[in-house]
Symmetry: C2
Subunit: 219 residues, 2 copies
């Protein structure tokens, strides 16, 4: 797989489905965020206080649920539990959507905490596969300030080190640390415009934010 | 296992947790409904129209999620994927909470449709285990009319055949048909009063509805 494409839970499900339709036939594996389901667990967790492991595992199941639903509605997509199956699916000209629960049951490489979310899981898979990574969200990329504020400017690129202490952004808090750890650059792009993602996958430029990692930087 | 106790998704999660605490040490296996998570899938399904299989499988994952969260908060409870593990857990004086996704991946005995919900799954498990079944909901049992209406009367017992054409009740539409098919009687009880369930499990009577199946009746 040349690309891991992480389709964020912030996108409406219909937009995520539409976006994935544009990816069929490309050399990519899709990983979906847990969306409303993961938010429901956060909400319950705030009330009830589950163990980190229970919250982590159930949040990963939410990624399976969204992945299954997306794969169900995209002709040419197939839900897979393993990277081996993902490769077979791409070999057949189809789009694999990874349901990460089983893989992470065996691997369990990441801290069990709310800091580690679907972005982090996607970075880890990207590192395993030696793939590039594209994070698809509901805004155009990372902004200098909260994108809902007047005058917020989209950043064409940002250093991952700088993003470490950036406060709120459109990516998970834990993402820059993991990009640095695994020495992976990353694109952030708006899922409502599938052509932008396709451009980047095809090596062209488009509206996005590029998160750059200095390869000689050690965390 | 002497009893399958199906803890309905209509109960608040806190009530479900409290209820299960009372069951630790009894000879029962708990199965949880998909609650808010399954409702979210229904909502998405109404908008987007998934295949029956995608809706069925994701709804079962919702039962895993609630089961994991409940088991996490009950001292002495343990989440299990298999009936073998459930037996071991009971042998250790603990309460098994079944996460049904893996078992149903292998068995797949039930129609894939929204008619088949967690009640039906629990009846099937009950039949597999030759256990009795208790369905725990957020009302006192089955009423002659909608329990929110003035003058609604709780039924002490009802014939499963009669329930077939009963319209709305506090149990799944598909439940009476499955009880008849598997020749299983069933109790319906309010989860907000754990002592009622304990009484029934101990062979005493309590406020509940008994759904009776004539054993010589063939569907």
């Amino acid at each position: 797989m040349e690309w891991v494409v992480k389709v964020g839970g912030s996108l409406f499900l219909e937009d995520a489905i539409e976006f994935c339709r544009a990816l069929v036939g490309k050399n990519v594996i899709v990983i979906c965020g847990g969306g409303d389901f993961a938010n429901k667990i956060r909400e319950y967790d705030a009330d009830t206080g589950f163990s980190d492991t229970a919250a982590h595992k159930t949040a990963i199941l939410c990624m399976d649920i969204i992945g299954m639903l997306v794969a169900d509605k995209v002709d040419g997509a197939e839900a897979v539990y393993s990277l081996e199956d993902a490769k077979k699916v791409i070999g057949n000209g189809k789009l694999p959507v990874l349901l990460p629960s089983k893989l992470f049951e065996y691997l369990d490489p990441l801290e069990h905490s709310w800091n580690v979310t679907s972005d982090s899981i996607s970075v880890y898979i990207s590192w395993l596969l030696k793939s590039k990574i594209l994070i698809v969200t509901n805004v155009d990329g990372i902004y200098d300030v909260n994108p809902s504020l007047d005058g917020a400017k989209l950043l064409k690129s940002i250093n991952a080190k700088k993003l470490l202490n950036f406060g709120e952004s459109s990516v998970d808090e834990n993402l820059p640390e993991l990009l640095l750890k695994y020495k992976l650059d990353c694109y952030v792009v708006n899922g409502k415009f599938p052509k932008r993602a396709i451009s980047i996958i095809e090596g062209k430029s488009s509206i996005s934010t590029f998160i750059e990692v200095e390869k000689n930087f050690n965390l």
